[in-house]
Symmetry: C2
Subunit: 665 residues, 2 copies
């Protein structure tokens, strides 16, 4: 399985007959060095400058069994290789203090790369230079977009093609291997080179792991065996959509009634303002003291019971920040549970017109205390789901209880936050019944985040931060073991002139039928933007789309089981099942929804027809029943309510799809 | 003078009792390495990415006399130090092939830095990271400006704070030394560090030179002794302004008559379209075949003689590009005088809707041929000045006659172009009588460019590319030995919604009274923008300002002599004469016009009063005769025609200034 070949001062490491490491004096595989970073941080955005003063190639080698030493004079990097559970495991040990590390993995020229966390601009990472730090994902995310221009000017918040809430030092290659570098330190994965991929890290990683299989359907189970898998999503997510509404009990019940009157299938009410709200210049913000606001939602536990009888669940919101001088903040501060600043005072993070403390999740007592807050203030009320928001903000200049440099903890923080939520659900025996959705992530989210949501998109059609961007985002997290993800129907961010239209909302709604679940969001400025509850026509559209969704239940339930048992992402790239189809490796705006459905959402305004690439198989167009032979691009009409969707003629779920065709053609 | 001290593996090099090099094992002074650049070039704009694969500290040292060897194993860098003409000279020799070089000069924490070529955003470079490559300077030059946003989007032409036509690896420090690194290779001067300045270069420089004096008035003569100095500017530049007008002889003579009718003192007509013109989407462009267009300018030699009797000179335009398939292009191509592409065809540079060949100035025969073109097609007609445009465009992927990599020749090209013009003037015995103005530059422009012009500003008030930006531009080139510079009155670039206003033109006009000379420009879109000849009020303003200018002649003539004899810049920073005034080191929008005048041009719209810092001396306000005691900020009115200008009470030219006060108060 593992071979280490030495010839003429070259070292070649192969695993399962594929080459992973090629070292020579001219092209060393490892470098170490020194760097001094400068980081400007502002409200979850980080501008990083790295001044590298040394970068030393480790040219000399010595091999002893499965241990290889790469060295330069007195600097020695030991790489201990082993096979564990069929995977190639490498462990690093360096004998000197260095704070920069470079590792070149052998690459073939036609290899393509997927993963690196949640990537909203590009699915294939080959050719890209990918910084990995958890951060606000950015508004516009494109230096050539006016949205980004103004977001940068006003809030330093424009982002770029690679800013992400969820970065990860892991990927899957078209050579059907998975690679994970074992570090949470700031890293840059550089896929621009022909003969190697280069990974830079701000610490010496503990090691790496590689697993390779003959097929992706074998690879993902093994990857997720290693990363962990989330529990099944609750069944209620298959019985209708979740309405994201706010404004207090009377208000949200009115919206629910309106939805029902229009035959929309609703199985959840997500009221993020359950703890109260306020207005800032940014828009409507929540009141960050995570206790039920009895004025807004009086008698909630009983109301929830009533809703449940009607098959509607209640969902809410929490994040690891506590509004300064409010009750939870004071309780945490008194017990020393908050992250500190350099003067040993409670660190106050600026959220724009208000400040918050940060629960120190590295303090086991603080962690447990906050877990109890989740149990007591949310789960006990009968709440069956929530947005577990943020995780990407940990300041780099704060002091943590565990003594680790906040800069090194920064990327791990979202995983701690996920784990805290996970254990609250687990310890109350609610896995599979209660769930939450997170935007921030890292290695470990696979196990601890019950699902991912794609964060805050702009309410528009822009490529890098609008409706289209959630598709590569879903595909990339999926390939590294996060099977469940979805996005805000309608998008979120209405700033710098972007206002949500009815068309955008309707297209987003029909797209999300074919994701893990459907949930709407009012956005940051509810009053200025299109809302479904003000538009009868849209509610009819939602009735149609939730009707389709509920008819798909047997099929999607199957996908949920695949996800939680095998780690198969609910939304998959075409190459996952058509691995010999070269074109399938280069599509990022169409995907397989399970093995048997192919979806290409409408992500442009005023689109009336669409070209869809079908891989080599017999496909049936869901809305017309027309059969297409794959291996080529076909063109179909896509009026509202009829996004391009196909199913496999040979599918064992064909009866499900046929019924939809009959009912909704 | 030179001391090399060795103690505990530390090496300290001092010169004239000041420390310039501090080397230790922990903080080495030199690094060498390997890099691979990626450069995207588009119409004179260069986007550079440098992948550094090795950066090796040279920690080991050995000293032998005035030679120091810095080494790492087999890599040895020899530094040979010597004193030549009172200057510290270093010469480098490396025994291996490396394409990246880093050199750390010792810095003190309060040191400030000026120079690095022509820098339009910041005068003090301390704290900045300064890439040095000659390039289009950029439209807007500020990522937070909408102008730059659109320029990047449409033409990749937005630039940044450090894009410049004229970069140079030279600067003057507040420690009163001048430093020059002897290389034209792409370099980055990094002034962000507390204890050192770091210079990176894409080759091993031949060496460096340092000269230090007790006073700036002693330093600049020595610097320009080393760099060379330009000849005196022609006297006609003191007798009035140069009108930049176009459209053919009849048209420009009409403008001249209009100007005279309004009592504007005119001593030159600059007709850049002497060889013809055309329109593109960018605006009005010249016809790049440098021969008199007889249709537009019939009988020009005789017309020039007539103008001369009237004390008006004729000026024109040339650049090192030749319009494809036109007569000069074909003549050059036939003789093998054009730069080649990788297929050995004539390189065709894209200028937006037309293509040009490039005269290969590294070919001595081509160089001489083009010098003759300047002599025969310009000087012989009686032309007494021209814009010697461009120089910053040399493509990095072309093949040159001298066999040097175009990437390494790129920064030297403007100097070759300057030298070609210089010799044409010199060999026709016209130094001091005929002159030209250049935007592109490099080390050597001091000698070979008879004057600098600040290039193409946006026709607006934006800090980094509008009217204000020409002030730090003038101060920075001045400190490294270019005494004569000026800018287009009214600015040039009207793109992306920027349209020149009357107010901008008028302010620019009154500012340029206090520069080397006054010259207007119609801009790239003459018809859309404000032109003086359509506005009687502006012509009255011009009459006033040229009146002031001509009354200043005795004083400015003195400045010209200082410039050509001592290298004193006509426009100087306050610290040049007030070297113990700490505040003087941090002013970049006011300057001394010679020793005796202090100017703070109005560079904001609708400005009615202005705060001006006066150094410790007795100053007289030019327009009111009111006396001010310096060492503090004062406030004066600044209506149009009365920009804040002061003169020294004790000036030996006080009679000149008093006359102006009497006439123009």
């Amino acid at each position: 399985m593992l071979k280490i070949i030495q010839e003429n001062k070259r070292i070649i490491v192969s695993f399962k007959n594929d080459i992973f490491l090629v070292h020579s004096e001219e092209e060393p595989a490892f470098y170490v060095g020194q760097g001094q970073e400068t980081i400007e941080s502002y409200r979850g955005n980080f501008k990083i400058d790295d001044y590298i003063s040394e970068r030393i190639p480790l040219r000399e080698t010595s091999v002893s069994g499965e241990n290889i030493t790469f060295s330069h004079e007195k600097i020695k990097l030991e790489l201990k290789l082993s096979i564990e559970q069929g995977r190639l495991v490498g462990q690093f040990k360096l004998n000197t203090m260095m704070n920069r590390f470079w590792f070149r993995l052998h690459a073939t020229h036609d290899e393509t790369i997927y993963g690196c966390g949640e990537q909203a601009s590009y699915f294939n990472m080959r050719g890209q230079y990918v910084p990995l730090i958890t951060t606000e994902s950015g508004v516009g995310r494109d230096p050539h977009s006016l949205t980004t221009f103004y977001a940068n000017k006003v809030d330093k918040a424009g982002g770029s093609f690679f800013t992400t809430y969820y970065p990860e030092t892991s990927f899957v290659s078209s050579r059907k291997y998975y690679f994970h570098l074992d570090t949470y330190a700031y890293s840059i994965f550089d896929f621009r080179h022909q003969t190697f991929h280069e990974f830079m890290s701000w610490e010496i990683p503990k090691g790496f792991i590689i697993t390779q299989k003959d097929h992706y359907v074998e690879l993902l189970p093994d990857v997720t065996e290693y990363t962990g898998r989330p529990p099944l999503l609750p069944e209620y997510l298959l019985d209708g959509m979740i309405l994201g509404v706010q404004g207090g009990l009377d208000q949200v019940l009115t919206y629910l009634q309106k939805a029902k009157d229009h035959n929309i299938k609703v199985s959840g009410l997500w009221c993020q303002d359950w703890a109260g709200y306020r207005y800032t210049t940014f828009g409507k913000r929540l009141y960050w003291n995570w206790k039920l606001n009895e004025n807004l939602y009086p008698n909630l536990p009983n109301v929830i019971k009533g809703l449940n009888q009607d098959h509607v669940q209640f969902l809410s919101y929490i994040c690891p920040f506590l509004l300064e001088n409010e009750s939870l903040f004071l309780e945490a501060e008194r017990q020393g549970f908050l992250v500190l600043n350099q003067k040993n005072e409670s660190y106050k993070e600026d959220f724009g017109e208000f400040y918050c403390g940060i629960v120190d999740l590295t303090n086991p007592q603080a962690y447990d205390w906050y877990k109890e807050v989740i149990k007591n203030n949310l789960i006990k009320l009968g709440i069956k789901g929530w947005m577990a928001d943020f995780g990407e903000y940990l300041p780099i200049d704060c002091k943590l209880h565990n003594g680790v440099d906040a800069l090194l903890m920064h990327n791990e923080w979202p995983v701690l936050w996920a784990k805290c939520n996970y254990e609250a659900v687990q310890e109350t025996n609610n896995l599979g019944k209660v769930f939450y959705f997170m935007r921030a992530g890292g290695f470990g989210s696979q196990r601890y985040a019950t699902s991912i949501w794609a964060g805050d998109q702009s309410v528009n059609w822009e490529t890098h931060d609008g409706i289209a961007s959630v598709i590569p985002a879903a595909l990339s997290v999926g390939m590294i073991g996060n099977p469940y993800t979805h996005s805000d129907i309608g998008g979120y961010t209405s700033l710098h002139g972007n206002i949500r239209t009815k068309e955008l909302f309707d297209r987003w709604c029909e797209m999300n039928v074919f994701t893990s679940y459907m949930r709407t969001h009012e956005g940051n400025r509810p009053k200025d933007n299109f809302q479904f509850y003000n538009d009868s026509d849209t509610m009819h559209h939602m009735a149609r789309m939730t009707g389709v969704r509920v008819m798909l239940k047997p099929y999607i339930k199957h996908l949920f089981h695949e996800a939680s048992l095998l780690g198969f992402p609910v939304q998959r790239p075409l190459f996952f099942h058509y691995e010999n189809d070269n074109q399938a490796y280069h599509l990022q705006y169409q995907y397989l929804f399970g093995k048997d459905m192919l979806v290409k959402p409408v992500v442009s305004e005023h689109q009336t027809t669409m070209n869809v690439y079908l891989p080599d198989d017999q496909w049936i167009h869901l809305w017309t029943g027309v059969e297409y032979t794959g291996g080529k691009e076909v063109t179909v009409d896509c009026p509202m309510g009829y996004p391009p969707v196909f199913y496999l003629k040979k599918s064992s779920f064909a009866y499900v799809f046929q019924n939809i065709t009959k009912t909704y053609a």
